[in-house]
């Protein structure tokens, strides 16, 4: 009962987070638009009557509509976009024994987790990695790289697929897929706005904006403050959205490891699979930064990947693999993984 209640609580929490994320996203875009309008309006308020006055908040209306559009698009086809960005292709009819095995393993895990069988995709990349995406269990897809199919044996493949199934069942995929779409959109927007500012300088009159700044008794100080605030938001937004994506993902990984182990009843297979994924140091090139938080291990491990603490919690998309392996080995009544940075972990001798 507790497990079931826990599952529903997880799903409910993810639904709620998804809603808040969408609301926050639209509010942010509205601020970017209407804030810009406000700054522009205040700055042009003192201008001579014959010159341009910014009264109708066109930028705000435009960006809010765009934000709504992006949300709708992320919801409808975020999963397809993530899959397409990695170049993944769907296994419709398994051609090789390895593909057959993958499809079989996915079917097995669908039974074990009690959800419908997701679509199966292969990402053409030699580095082993895997991710799941979609809105809910009915529209979910699981993608694994070619490198994963080659590197893992049947039990390990099963463990990785079980981990992804756990993400699907917990509805992590909904939150993660929405995030992927929005992180991408924010990066794009920030980039575009920055370029517009550099080139356009507020609607063509490049000299006028500078004269309104120093001439006429300092222009409008309130307008300048709003403008500065607005610019800061634009600069900080991509970083903040990325951090948000990563901190959300980081917390979900331990849970998915544990539920995945519960499906296979074989935590050690996942531990050894993670070890193999960690040993393959090459970055997964097919998976871009925007989809990194969807993957089972960080596709491009950086400085923070194997650290703990607040900074690492904020900056890395995944918990340290060594720690995940240790937890899984504990579940299987084995001691800590014999990794050098695990020396502080208490060794347990299994019975």
């Amino acid at each position: 009962m507790s497990e079931d209640a826990n599952l529903f609580a997880q799903q409910e929490a993810n639904r709620r987070r998804s809603t808040w994320l969408t609301v926050g996203f639209i509010v942010f875009f509205a601020w970017v638009g209407f804030g810009g309008d406000l700054a522009f309006g205040l700055l042009t308020a003192d201008a001579p009557p014959e010159s341009y006055h910014h009264v109708i908040p066109v930028i705000g209306i435009f960006t809010t509509l765009v934000a709504g559009g992006i949300c709708w698009f992320s919801w409808r086809s975020g999963a397809q976009r993530v899959l397409r960005s990695t170049g993944a292709w769907e296994i419709v009819e398994a051609a090789t024994p390895a593909q057959r095995q993958l499809v079989n393993v996915v079917e097995e895990m669908a039974i074990a987790s009690g959800i419908p069988k997701p679509k199966v995709y292969v990402v053409p990349d030699p580095d082993p990695n895997a991710f799941a995406t979609g809105r809910d269990a009915e529209t979910a897809s699981i993608a694994v790289t070619e490198g994963l199919l080659e590197a893992l044996n049947r039990d390990e493949l099963q463990a990785v697929v079980a981990h992804e199934m756990a993400h699907i069942r917990n509805l992590d995929i909904r939150l993660m897929t929405l995030l992927a779409g929005m992180v991408g959109a924010i990066a794009l927007m920030s980039d575009g706005m920055g370029r517009m500012l550099r080139v356009g300088r507020f609607g063509g009159g490049s000299r006028r904006s500078s004269s309104s700044g120093d001439g006429k008794g300092g222009g409008n100080p309130l307008g300048l403050i709003v403008l500065v605030l607005w610019l800061v938001t634009l600069i900080v937004a991509p970083v903040v959205s990325q951090i948000l994506a990563m901190s959300v993902s980081r917390k979900r990984e331990y849970l998915a490891d544990a539920s995945g182990a519960q499906f296979t009843r074989n935590p050690l297979a996942l531990a050894s699979a993670l070890q193999k994924l960690a040993d393959a140091t090459a970055p997964t090139r097919a998976i871009t930064r925007g989809a990194a938080h969807l993957c089972i291990v960080d596709p491009s491990p950086g400085l923070m990947s194997e650290r703990t603490g607040l900074l690492a919690d904020v900056l890395a998309s995944h918990p340290p693999i060594a720690q995940r392996i240790t937890r899984l080995r504990d579940m299987g009544y084995l001691g800590a993984a014999p990794a050098p940075d695990d020396a502080r972990e208490v060794r347990q001798v299994g019975g």
């Binding site: 039974i111 044996n153 039990d155």
Partner: protein, 190 residues
């Protein structure tokens, strides 16, 4: 005042009864569904076995007894009904298949044969599916049994006509002892 308190308590109790009753019924249906899942996988397994026997028959002329045992166990499993009988028949079939696979290891022709390898993967997967379906069934059934036997859900168990669901147990001591035959043709585990 007292009547209002009484009314509130009554409403809470009625709401709780509805919730507990619905919870039990939902679980009951989940148990039935989990059992259906096992059935689907068992059917698949039964369908695959004649194929496998036909494919290996030529190369394994000398193991006629083993092949016949597999077919006999399969036919017995097909006609089994009820949780207990099915569990036992399927257990015997698993053993017979295990022996057959152990023997195929001795035939290099078979080990290299694409068809056999494919069938082996299919059967491995089906065995796993049976296992996972059984796991899901047992988990759900245990949850159902625990819920209807513990307080306070116990009070509405009669109302929901809840009966303890039978678990799929491994009856045969020999099956418990069956070694794990690794049929995967990928690289060995590390």
């Amino acid at each position: 005042m007292a009547t209002i308190v009484l009314l509130v308590v009554l409403v809470v109790v009625v709401l709780w009864i509805i919730g507990a009753y619905n919870g039990l019924i939902a679980l009951k249906n989940q148990v039935a569904n989990a059992w259906k899942q096992i059935d689907v996988q068992l059917k698949r397994r039964h369908d695959l076995i004649p194929n496998l026997v036909n494919t290996v028959k030529g190369a394994m002329e000398f193991e006629r007894g083993t092949l016949e045992a597999v077919i006999a166990a399969r036919n017995k499993a097909v006609s089994a009904t009820g949780v207990k009988q099915t569990a036992q028949a399927e257990g015997e079939l698993t053993q017979a298949l295990g022996r057959l696979f152990a023997l195929t290891e001795a035939y290099p022709d078979l080990k290299a044969n694409q068809n056999v390898l494919q069938l082996q993967e299919e059967l491995t997967s089906t065995e796993n599916k049976v296992g996972f379906a059984r796991q899901l069934y047992n988990d759900t059934a245990t949850q159902y049994n625990t819920k209807q036997a513990t307080f306070p859900t116990l009070l509405v168990a009669g109302l929901a006509k809840a009966q303890p669901a039978e678990l799929w147990e491994i009856e045969d001591a020999a099956e418990r002892a069956v070694p794990n035959v690794d049929l995967s043709f990928n690289k060995p585990a590390t």
